[in-house]
């Protein structure tokens, strides 16, 4: 409905606000001073490392042997720990992660669960297997370099070594641990590492990690990060240099973190030649150990052993894999002129998928992640086939994706595998290089990594079926029961709906920042700045939040507050749209409009009927009954009206006159924030002439009132439709209130029912189509 108003009134009501009186500042735009730690000499207010920033160093020399017959790992390590902190250390904390699998561990005791009368036999069996398995570290000796026993105390997954002499700044302390532990059958007990047993041929694929007692992180944020490992919150580890000798049956092929230092003693001449060829091939993977060789290898078991020596510099951990089933391929990747290797290790069961995709995906991931963060500087990145898990270590990761026995595979298996390889290779950047505290904050590596995984997937193939990233994919989670949703800023162990909370929501939030709030250029620069600042260091959430603002000049406190510190969701509605035009005062313009308006008004039904049923009234058949008032037309303009108008025009100034003559449409639109999260308002205006326009208003429109606002739009044309969030970029959970005139979106159910044929299996249909052609 059109309303007219006089010129003076419009500028008074640009934004009205209903400000609730509150005693505290609960503004959604309140800065994060109370949430973020006070900046200091170690971490600055800009989000960069401070001038006194330090980090500890832990170097390792490990000799480890795989006892294949008994599935036992025997190890002997020397740790050289350097104190770079200004503090004096009287003891060291070491992580014994495998103790989570010790009988009666806290990890087991604190896992809540219950029985029900409908449990499957399989899950009861799994429960038995887990309870009966003794997978904790067995420490034989903890000594100094000269074999003198050290005092230590084990508290669950943590071990304290008491130092005889306090360790001062710049000093190092070296010690040795001799140990062993039982490897877990991943298929029975689960786990990030362990082995998968192939019954038919009595062979296993070993994927080995957390296989040695590892130094805990000491810093100015946590002191010793000795929060127990309960199974979910992953790892926090200092950087260091590694030299690892791995002894396995002589017919095994070993993949590991770092570079192989003794190829000539473990590989055949042919394999070494192929490896050299792979190092110069940038387009396609070169097979180093062929499928035929691997299949031949599987048939027998060597009695002798070989030792593979790997070295890695400036890494935070070490992982490896070993099997006589391994096929191995590799190719070179050019990272800013530097040659990096991409490798894959997989059994015949992984083919044909793995030889076609794994190494290519590793190479692609390194390139894209390097573009958005820092150049990948490790010498290689490896993807190892491991059924049903995805798990990351520096330069090596274990990934799922296994075709059917006949070699066929579903679309889901293919894209699931490519997705997990991108994700796990991506973990080289977060947290292996940009080394956040996983035990405390899962989102800092999983969320950032899932965001980049999305960008990498989209560059692998157009419209790649990404699970996480686009805002519309997070809606189901965000609109769910709030008792099942906790803020992103929640400790790893207490997160509910892990995948949505720590992977999906932060990845979506970053995507929204990039596409909608900051724009790609400012976002990419800031994200890269964060990566550069914290590469090979230990960042905290505040360092990330601050850097993103510092490098972009976009105040993001409101965004972090809403998306990371609350469990609110986005639901903005268009409440109403009012249309105004200026009363020009010109009788020649206004009178016809008024006349038309009166004529278009609905009339009383009696009057309408009288028009035809009364043939003629008195004034119509008798002219003598007519006087001035009978014929007076109130919408007729006379000379006096025009003179009044000229006087009016003389009294107003030039600018006002221009506004008067502009003939603009004024639309006052009222919006409500139902979900709680403040977001930009993105509107698509459709005009009566069929054209469209997009209007983007920053989230700060909510700065004085975060519940309800009005905004006036001055338009040349008339509106026929308004749509809020037309490009699905804010994760608005309810689109039904996003339209003017009101319009309900059909539900997914209704859309599905409307489809004439429900083709849910394009592959089957394709085969049928081909059969039809053959038969004809």
């Amino acid at each position: 409905m059109l309303r007219k108003f006089n010129l003076i009134t419009i500028f008074l009501c640009l934004i009205t606000f209903v400000n609730a009186q509150e005693n505290l500042n609960n503004s959604k735009f309140k800065q994060l001073y109370e949430e973020l730690p006070t900046p200091n000499v170690y971490r600055t207010a800009s989000g960069a490392p401070g001038h006194e920033y330090y980090q500890q160093k832990a170097d390792y020399e490990i000799n480890v042997e795989l006892d294949e017959e008994n599935n036992i790992i025997n190890g002997n390590e020397t740790i050289i720990y350097t104190n770079n902190s200004p503090d004096i250390l009287n003891y060291l904390w070491i992580q014994l992660d495998q103790n989570v699998r010790a009988k009666g561990s806290h990890g087991q005791l604190t896992t809540t669960n219950n029985m029900n009368n409908k449990m499957s036999f399989g899950s009861i069996k799994r429960m038995h297997d887990r309870m009966n398995f003794d997978g904790g570290f067995k420490l034989e000796k903890v000594t100094d370099l000269y074999g003198k026993e050290l005092l230590y105390k084990i508290n669950e997954t943590m071990m304290r070594i008491d130092l005889q002499k306090p360790l001062k700044r710049g000093q190092s302390f070296s010690f040795k641990i001799k140990y062993s532990y039982n490897l877990n059958d991943r298929m029975k007990i689960g786990g990030r590492s362990g082995y998968e047993y192939f019954k038919e041929e009595e062979n296993s694929i070993y994927t080995i990690a957390q296989f040695f007692p590892r130094m805990a992180v000491y810093n100015e944020v946590e002191g010793w990060q000795n929060k127990q490992f309960l199974g979910r919150g992953e790892f926090t580890l200092p950087f260091g240099d590694y030299k690892v000798s791995i002894t396995v049956p002589a017919d095994h092929i070993v993949a590991a973190t770092g570079e192989l230092k003794n190829p000539s003693s473990v590989l055949s001449k042919k394999q070494i030649e192929r490896l050299e060829k792979a190092k110069n091939n940038y387009t396609d993977p070169v097979i180093i150990v062929t499928q035929e060789e691997a299949e031949e290898n599987e048939k027998t078991k060597s009695e002798s052993k070989k030792t593979w020596i790997f070295e890695a510099e400036n890494v935070r951990d070490f992982g490896w894999a070993s099997s006589r089933k391994f096929i191995w391929d590799g190719m070179a990747v050019d990272i800013s002129g530097k040659n990096v290797m991409a490798y894959s290790y997989y059994p015949k069961e992984g083919n044909p998928l793995w030889e076609q995709y794994s190494t290519r995906v590793v190479a692609h991931s390194l390139k894209i992640y390097s573009k958005y963060t820092i150049d990948y500087i490790y010498p290689q990145a490896t993807s190892v086939h491991a059924k049903s898990i995805g798990m990351e270590y520096p330069m090596i990761c274990f990934n799922f994706g296994r075709p059917e026995k006949d070699g066929s595979y579903s679309k889901r298996t293919k894209y699931g595998m490519i997705g997990v390889i991108i994700h796990e290779v991506g973990h080289n950047f977060f947290p292996m290089i940009i080394n956040s505290d996983e035990r405390q904050w899962t989102w800092m590596d999983e969320g950032l990594n899932t965001f980049l995984q999305y960008l990498t997937e989209q560059e692998f193939e157009r419209n790649y079926p990404s699970r996480r990233g686009p805002p519309s994919n997070i809606i189901e989670y965000m609109k769910g029961d709030k008792s099942g949703i906790v803020p992103i800023m929640t400790n790893s162990e207490s997160i509910l709906q892990f995948g949505n909370n720590a992977y999906g929501k932060p990845a979506t939030a970053l995507n929204i920042l990039r596409e909608t709030i900051m724009g790609r250029e400012l976002f990419d620069y800031s994200f890269k700045t964060y990566s550069k600042r914290w590469a090979f260091k230990h960042p905290t959430p505040a360092d990330f939040f601050r850097t993103m603002e510092d490098a972009s000049a976009v105040d993001l406190d409101w965004f972090w507050r809403g998306w990371f510190y609350t469990n609110d969701h986005v639901d903005i509605s268009i409440d109403k749209v009012n249309w105004f035009k200026i009363n020009t005062g010109n009788p020649d313009v206004e009178n016809p409009i008024s006349k038309e308006k009166v004529e278009n008004e609905n009339t009383y039904i009696g009057n309408t009927r009288n028009k035809s049923s009364i043939n003629k009234t008195v004034t119509e058949y008798n002219d003598n009954a007519i006087d001035f008032y009978t014929t007076y037309d109130p919408f007729q303009t006379n000379i006096l009206d025009r003179e009044d108008y000229s006087k009016y025009l003389k009294n107003i100034n030039k600018e006002d006159e221009e506004i008067l003559k502009s003939n603009k449409n004024y639309y006052e639109i009222q919006f409500s924030n139902i979900g709680g999260l403040v977001m930009p308002i993105i509107l698509e205006f459709k005009y009566t002439d069929g054209t469209n326009e997009t209007i983007r208003i920053p989230a700060e429109i909510w700065k004085r009132n975060s519940k309800q606002i009005k905004k006036i739009f001055i338009l040349n044309k008339q509106l026929s439709r308004v749509k809020l969030d037309p490009f699905l970029e804010t994760a608005d959970v309810n689109m039904d209130n996003n339209y003017w005139p009101t319009k309900s979106e059909p539900t997914r159910f209704q859309l599905f029912k409307q489809k004439k044929d429900n083709r849910d299996n394009p592959m089957q249909r394709d085969i049928k189509a081909k059969e039809r052609i053959e038969n004809n």
């Binding site: 669960n113 689960g190 066929s408 579903s410 079926p465 189901e476 949505n500």
Partner: protein, 168 residues
């Protein structure tokens, strides 16, 4: 006796499928007087559960998809999602299924016809035990839109039945 305390679920880091949640929405369509049910579940969970329950492999979305997969799925949900109005159990019908664009999940559609109870639906009871037999930490979220009201319910092993009362 099995001590249920000592049980450890290790599948936390990104396994092929990292946590176990289903989403169901129940819309009462007052025009057709039917309840429209849309369910989003992970294909992997669905296949695993049906394999445990029926020893049949579904192979959804592949060329070798089990020909009676609709029936098998339908039977499972008949037993694991019960809908009652005014304490009377309702039968639902299979409408169809559709793999999500993300390839990870599948949408299942069911419908309950003629359920207006002469315009007097006073209570709606749901029993949701989807995948609870295979996953101890399974969470089933149900969003109900009934006339002008919305309800958001979470079902777990500890709470698998919930009842809604409607007041006129």
């Amino acid at each position: 006796m099995i001590n249920p305390l000592i049980y450890l679920v290790f599948t936390f880091f990104l396994p092929s499928h990292d946590f176990h949640i289903t989403h169901t929405s129940l819309n009462y369509n007052s025009d057709s007087e039917s309840i429209e049910i849309t369910m989003k579940v992970a294909i992997e969970d669905l296949e695993r559960s049906l394999e445990v329950n029926t020893s049949k492999k579904l192979r959804i979305g592949t060329t070798k998809e089990n020909k009676s997969s609709h029936k098998i799925i339908s039977n499972y949900f008949d037993n694991h999602l019960k809908v009652l109005t005014n304490d009377k159990p309702l039968q639902f019908q299979w409408v169809g299924k559709e793999i999500d664009d993300n390839l990870h999940d599948i949408y299942l559609y069911f419908e309950i016809l003629n359920c207006n109870e002469n315009g007097e639906i006073k209570t709606l009871t749901l029993k949701n035990t989807i995948f609870l037999e295979i996953e101890i930490n399974q969470t089933n979220i149900v969003l109900i839109e009934f006339k002008d009201s919305k309800f958001n319910l979470t079902f777990t092993k500890d709470q698998d039945i919930q009842k809604l009362q409607f007041y006129e």
